[in-house]
């Protein structure tokens, strides 16, 4: 399911009971959201998830085509383990040793931030944190610090986690003016609604 500000944009009924298959879900969501970006298909799963979630929010922002100052502060639990396991499988046995640079480059969680920055021309800060579970307080403090110092005009924050068959992305845009107050309790409440 993909939702924006509480409104469901796209939802897929799983064929089997249980988690939706990620690759089917993300492909259908990509088509439904009319995201026309050929580099998408080269990305690893975590980047596809983060990229699409960010795209839903950022395409409503009327961004400048040349450059934008939106910092990205993302977090998750599984880092890039989904792709790490693929790279490990390619080097585990000497007889089938075949590491690939196209896989290896995605064995860092912040690569998805690079993908988002390239698409939306964000020459701004990127930080990727790892927590055991969603930690609104640290995201909130760090976003405040970037806005207060003037280093970022807006901050896109959130949680993008993908591990074996489970995945979820929760992103929110923080700026100096808006309707929802940027408070830890409110961020946590919104995250828990999902």
């Amino acid at each position: 399911m993909v939702s924006l500000n509480g409104n469901v944009l796209f939802s897929e009924v799983p064929i089997t009971i249980g988690a939706e298959d990620f690759s089917t879900f993300i492909k259908n969501a990509y088509k439904f959201l009319k995201t026309d970006y050929s580099k998408f298909f080269k990305m690893d799963n975590l980047s596809k998830l983060a990229f699409l979630a960010a795209d839903v929010l950022l395409k409503k922002e009327n961004l400048n085509e040349e450059e934008n100052n939106i910092a990205l502060i993302f977090s998750n639990k599984a880092s890039s383990l989904d792709t790490d396991r693929k790279h490990q499988a390619a080097i585990e046995n000497d007889a089938e040793y075949f590491p690939s640079p196209a896989v290896f480059v995605y064995t860092l969680p912040n690569i998805c931030l690079g993908e988002i920055s390239i698409k939306h021309r964000l020459y701004s800060e990127n930080s990727f944190f790892i927590f055991d579970r969603f930690n609104a307080e640290h995201l909130q403090l760090y976003a405040n610090s970037l806005l207060r110092s003037g280093k970022a005009e807006k901050v896109l924050c959130g949680w993008v986690d993908l591990d074996e068959n489970s995945y979820d992305a929760f992103l929110y845009l923080v700026e100096k003016e808006g309707e929802i107050e940027h408070k830890t309790e409110e961020i946590t409440r919104l995250y828990n609604i999902l």
């Binding site: 080097i91 390239i118 760090y142």
Partner: protein, 382 residues
Amino acid sequence: MAKTFVSHNNILSNLGFDSETVVENISKGKSGLEKFDDASLLPEPFCASMISSEVIKSEFNKIGDTSKYTKLEQMLILSLKKVVDATDIQLNEKVGLIISTTKGNIDVLEKQSNFPESRAYLSELGKTIQNFFGFKNEAIVLSNACVSGVLAISVAKSFISEGKYDHVFITSGDLVTKFILSGFNSFQALSAEPCKPYDKNRVGINLGEVAASALVTSSEKNLSQEAVAILGDATCNDANHISGPSRTGEGLFRSVKSALKEANLGASQIDYISAHGTATPFNDEMEAIAFNRLGMENVPLNSLKGYFGHTLGASGLLETIVGMHFMKKNILFSSKGFSDLGVSKIITIIKNNTPKNLQIFLKTASGFGGCNTAVIFGKINN
């Protein structure tokens, strides 16, 4: 805004188990890089700096049970313990812990590992370090490619300026593993010989493993002798490519510019640049372009990769600590491996150890994902 300082520190490397010994070895021109021919790590010979697991274990035995901690955890704990012990800070709710790493315990994914796969989760690594020392706050793990170590200093400063913490301990480290070696080798980025940052004969990087730790604090009391103030910092993305640096050095240029602005300094006021200098053709060229665009072509610059190799998530913190000690000594140390300029723009690479009054230095780092971080440090003159 209240000042923030980088104070007590430790480096655990094959050049020594404390910062002073390591810096002493650098001053003598000693490098930790060695050639290896070990098919269990890479099918071909390679050059790296590594710390023997046995040496780590025999040190760790004095403070804990080696069977319960991975090699990386032992390194991080040994390193951080020296910093915690050097301060009289009580680990209460105003004290934070940041762990900077790119791959953490990635070696537990290997079939023959004695540890479960769950140890590969970076939050587990965080918990292990947090519990060993009894930190009251959850460890914050930062994993942002090769800028992580220096970005951790910026993050610590932000949490202090937001009032969350008074003191933040940072520990950083990555291992030289089959995982990392095979990956960089698949990019054809490794040099089988000791690396030569900025040199015309440079062919690529060497990997290295260290643990580096430091205290970032808002308190001017009990600072270490080499402590520095954080004057400005910034991180900027290239918005260009995920695995190659920008041809124009855009993100590096912007991050240094923004850090200078915060520090209220001009390019000419920087006495020394501790640059990234991985010795890949593209990285070093990109840096030369960015420093020229910044008007910093005459600022003495070195890369420390010729001493340690590229230590990934630790490199930014490691190189900041070494820079702090250089400032205290008022000596510019040579950029090991360099002899003839091999970048298209002129930059001033330090060839020989040279005495110079050092007041302000700039640390930069760049990494996969297009990230670039710059932090400016100032000497504290009493």
